[in-house]
């Protein structure tokens, strides 16, 4: 193979063997990685899980002032169809009063529809406020019973240990009264 200027016959053999070792070692490494990847990837979400990664929700039956909970990726999604008064109230709050400053406008795509993941940003409890009779907290929004976090009518943290506002999931209006979450 290597009939170039190798000084002795023995060296030629050594070079060729070293090359083969490198080649085999390289291929072995590539092969091992290729064989390990299916194992790792098998732990990623499977096709049936991914198929449920986005949910379509029909907003039509929800009345003005009504709060509805749906499930998305195993978590509750709070849907609140807010009245004009509630929207105006939320927009009147000065940003400096907020631990996690965010305008109401930035948290909604259509002012009437507030859509949030219903998981307290403190330690993951589900805040109260979706059902009639639930405590709404001091700001008329949601109240987390675990450690007493109060959220306002835009789902923003106002009082208590939670550091962040309730998270807005990725969603889009596929029709006027239909959203796709995820």
């Amino acid at each position: 193979m290597t009939d170039t200027a190798s000084p002795t016959h023995g060296d030629e053999g050594e070079t060729r063997r070293d090359f083969l070792y490198l080649l085999a070692g390289g291929m072995g490494a590539v092969g091992t990685v290729a064989a390990v990847w299916p194992l790792i990837d098998s732990m990623n979400p499977a096709a049936d899980v991914l198929a449920l990664a986005s949910t379509e929700v029909d907003l039509d039956p929800i009345e003005l002032g009504q709060r509805v909970t749906v499930t998305w990726r195993g978590n509750p999604i709070f849907i609140d169809r807010r009245t004009k008064a509630v929207i105006d109230g939320a927009r009147a709050v000065p940003l400096e009063d907020l631990p996690d400053p965010e305008t109401d406008d930035a948290r909604v795509q259509q002012a009437e529809w507030l859509i949030m993941i219903g998981v307290c940003t403190h330690l993951g409890c589900i805040p109260k406020g979706q059902k009639s009779g639930d405590p709404l907290g001091e700001y008329g929004g949601w109240f987390c019973p675990c450690h007493g976090s109060h959220y306002d009518t835009a789902g923003r943290i106002r009082k208590g240990p939670a550091p962040k506002n309730l998270v807005v999931p990725p969603y889009s209006f596929v029709e006027d009264t239909k959203i796709q979450i995820g």
Partner: protein, 253 residues
Amino acid sequence: MKRVVAGVLSAAILAFGTQTMAAEDKALPDFKWSFDGIFGQFDRPALQRGFQVYREVCSACHSLRLIAFRDLADLGYDVEQIKAFAAEATVVDGPDDEGEMFEREGRPSDRIPSPFPNAKAAAAANGGSTPPDLSLMAKARPHGPSYIRALLSDGYEDAPAGFEILEGQSYNAYFPGNRIAMAPPLGDDAVEYQDGTEASVDRMAADVAHFLMWTAEPKLEQRKQTGIKVVLFLLVLTGILYAIKRKVWADLH
């Protein structure tokens, strides 16, 4: 001595290979399929036709419970077509906030709903025999696709003289025991193919068998394509290892 052993071995292997076939009365025809062989692929138009046959004929009695509408993307349908297939189906969901189960339109993530709520109901509606689920039928029978095609196309015959067939049964040459509770399901033009193919009984039988091979082994193409790469890679690596082995051992001899 070695020849004797070889003879015994090959006789034994021959016997192993043929003994599973002995159950059927009539030898299965050796149909050729596009998914045979290491380069085998499904035939998309045949899959879509087969799905149409399932939907318009088989699904009246047979479930396909392991298949979700989203899986039909494999057959070459786009998202809108799959949503339309799903929307035709009614799915039981729930319970709702009042604790009641309710019906809704199917979604792509839903499994294809079964024609009967459970096996007992299926048996009751079919004279005591449960129409089996078809999801895995092409793998659950020896030579599955050919068996399904043969059974549906030319398996139905007049029973031989003296062979007793009960009320509600038919004679089928390929069905184990020959007494089948399914009446001949296909007649010429039982479906009107969307792609204009003439819907002969044999065509429909072949298409639905093709489709059922896909439902049984949806990863067949991925498997074979991966296999070619893996085996080629190993051939090269093993060749290199052999060269190294020769080199290392060379200084011994």
